[in-house]
Symmetry: C2
Amino acid sequence: MAQQERGARSRNLLLKAAAEVFDERGFDSASTTEILQRSGLTRGALYHHFPSKEAIAVALLTTHREALDVPAQSTNVQAVIDLTFAFAFRLQRDPMLRACVRLAVEQSSLRDHAVTPYQQASTAVRELLAQAKEHGELLPGVDLLEAAEMINGTFTGIQVMSRVQTNREDLPERVSMMWRFLLPGLVNPGMIGHLRVTPTPEKTDRSARQTVQA
Amino acid sequence: MAQQERGARSRNLLLKAAAEVFDERGFDSASTTEILQRSGLTRGALYHHFPSKEAIAVALLTTHREALDVPAQSTNVQAVIDLTFAFAFRLQRDPMLRACVRLAVEQSSLRDHAVTPYQQASTAVRELLAQAKEHGELLPGVDLLEAAEMINGTFTGIQVMSRVQTNREDLPERVSMMWRFLLPGLVNPGMIGHLRVTPTPEKTDRSARQTVQA
């Protein structure tokens, strides 16, 4: 049991060190030597957990899923909105998530694996939109798959622009803007005034606590 | 004069070779040696035109501006829409433009220069939107700067997702989808039915001819 715990801890150390290196250098320029130096572990420990640099990146990409959990909200559309603000908040603070996003956005020899985060995000948003549709929150003609792709595509581009222009400092304001433009094509007109398109204060606190514990 | 022409031609050969290499490898992994091999020119010719790899990338980023020219249309909003379809069409076929977009999207030691294409796109779209506003095509409350950032941000993310998922094959369909979702938050309701949110056949032919000539 103690050995298992040590194993899980060293795996986690490797993932965090790799996230930092991928976040800073991208996939192709990242080296396992630098990952080892940052983690303080041996090459033997690395190969015990991951057969290759690619295997570490693939494991990292699956952690992206955690950033897509969202607490229950008054409406399902509000839950989608809050999901994007929580994701933006975490992207500003969590190197693991930043590494996932960089691995997904940039062209590298990682290729097909880069699709994982988009599929996870599309599934998470589509499920919430399906519930929104069932509760009559959406405009009649909205295609769920398209709407999910649109929300994720817009978020992807907005975070790229925010990174280039302000190192992601203005990301929450850009997410607010995104929703002001998207909601009229997505939800029933009567709902728009009742939706909050700014970050939730409580969520901000909770995420901050998680970040400190991590 | 003949010498000037040769100079312009070799500068152009270098830019095209560099575009291919940046498009395939990104900025940091691109080498001037490979750029020289592809261009068939000497290192002396390279340094005559560009003092460094960075200088080539900066010159390439300014060529992005050409992809933002758009012919006159029935309405200014239609001109913005057509601009995005023409840009998408060219992105599928022109390595120079693909290189600009890759240099702008990816994190590299190029840093601040990556902002150039976003500024160019924002200016081009904002000017068209300003004319649209003057002609009463937009919803009353629309902020021109925000709308331009939203259109460019959405396009950026959509082309990233299209590249990851289909090597940009489905980009025109994604641009159609983008406009179906964005127009209700942007233009007067009465206009929506009169706007075409599919590629123009003429534009497609003209761009195809340009590509063949290039």
